[in-house]
Symmetry: C2
Subunit: 209 residues, 2 copies
DNA sequence: GTCTATAGCCAGATAGAC
DNA sequence: GTCTATCTGGCTATAGAC
């Protein structure tokens, strides 16, 4: 227990860890191509040469950041999707959990989707990653609910896409949506906060008979 | 009529136009920071110096592409949102119209949202742009429908965000969603095609009493 | 492990001939 | 208007002292 705490303290002053934190900040703000190694070094408060000492190249540092970001959120999503709870409860947990996470880490969703769009081959690496969530159980659950007449007819894939869209897009599209709704940062945040429960209600109303 | 056709032909061979088309292709694929002027020149089949002759700098060429992309879709959205048709019909037109457009121009939504996230000041320029849609009429329409008991209680902003999310996200998040659903390009496209009507049905079910 | 200095390359932009 | 050649700066990456 004490060692955990000590490791934590050590890591805070550990250069390798400081670099990864700085790289996260810069890559998530500027993207792979927009980020500069010098800026990451400055952000970490260390020398540029050390970046290469620890991570060899910009590409490898980037991939470390990318997969760490994904590993931060993916297991949480997978755990909810594969848990043994009723469909409506699962939808509530999933949306609330994701929105809470994204509010705490606002750059992560943007970052993942952005880089995935510019590196199509990254998608393959990601799917094969051990923490990539499997949605088969969730799909079965939806199909069963449709068959049993518990919910309206809808393809499991479409319902899943709808759930993802309603939870993720308000973060990805924030600048655009703020423009449309003419809301400032603070008011937009209030709106997002409301979505922790609103999104699930909306979905459930859409599918329940 | 003849002159229109002649202008079209001339523009096809016009270098200024060829540059803009090539720039669109490269910027939308690689983003502002990832794109290279040389690649745009190659794509246009002309010399790199000509890019600067016509557009002065990379930044200015980029902005020309960006605002042209936005002008391509924004007026269509605005027209639907401000038309005088019933709420449910408007939702049907909007979603079907947007999805049809995005299928024909798959890079445009990604491009706009991506660059908006990396250039926060772009958002302001965009909102002041003459073709930026105003959603006041649409918001009033929703508020009235709520007051008259035609639909469930929902804030106009939240409903608008839901509509945008369900229509736009499947294009922005395509690589991720393909990974989750394990669908290939062709099957995913079929799914998107279904959404031309499915999305509106889903929304209407969610809000109607 | 950590630094300074610099190699080596490539990008955006311009000069100037035609 | 269109080209070739080139400037200038900034970037990733490494060499080498400590």
């Amino acid at each position: 227990m004490l060692t955990v705490w000590l490791n934590y303290l050590v890591n805070m002053e550990n250069n390798e860890h400081k670099i990864l934190e700085a790289a996260k900040t810069v890559f998530q703000k500027k993207g792979m191509t927009g980020a500069r190694m010098q800026e990451i070094a400055d952000e970490a408060g260390i020398n540029k040469a050390l970046l290469h000492y620890y991570y060899r190249s910009k590409q490898m540092l980037f991939e470390a950041v990318f997969f760490q970001a994904f590993s931060l959120i993916a297991p949480k999503l997978g755990a909810v999707l594969n848990s043994e709870i009723a469909l409506f409860d699962k939808i509530k947990h999933f949306t609330k959990g994701y929105i809470s996470f994204a509010m705490a880490h606002p750059y992560v969703p943007k970052f993942i989707i952005q880089e995935l769009n510019q590196n199509p081959d990254f998608a393959e690496k990601l799917v094969q990653h051990n923490s990539f969530p499997n949605i088969d159980i969730f799909k079965n659950q939806i199909e069963t609910a449709v068959k049993n007449g518990k919910i309206r007819t809808i393809s499991p894939e479409q319902l899943f896409i709808n759930i993802m869209s309603l939870t993720v897009f308000p973060f990805i599209g924030a600048p655009l949506l703020k423009g449309f709704t003419k809301l400032n940062e603070a008011d937009y945040k209030v709106l997002i906060e409301e979505r922790k429960t609103m999104v699930a209600d909306f979905i459930i109303n859409a599918i329940k008979k």
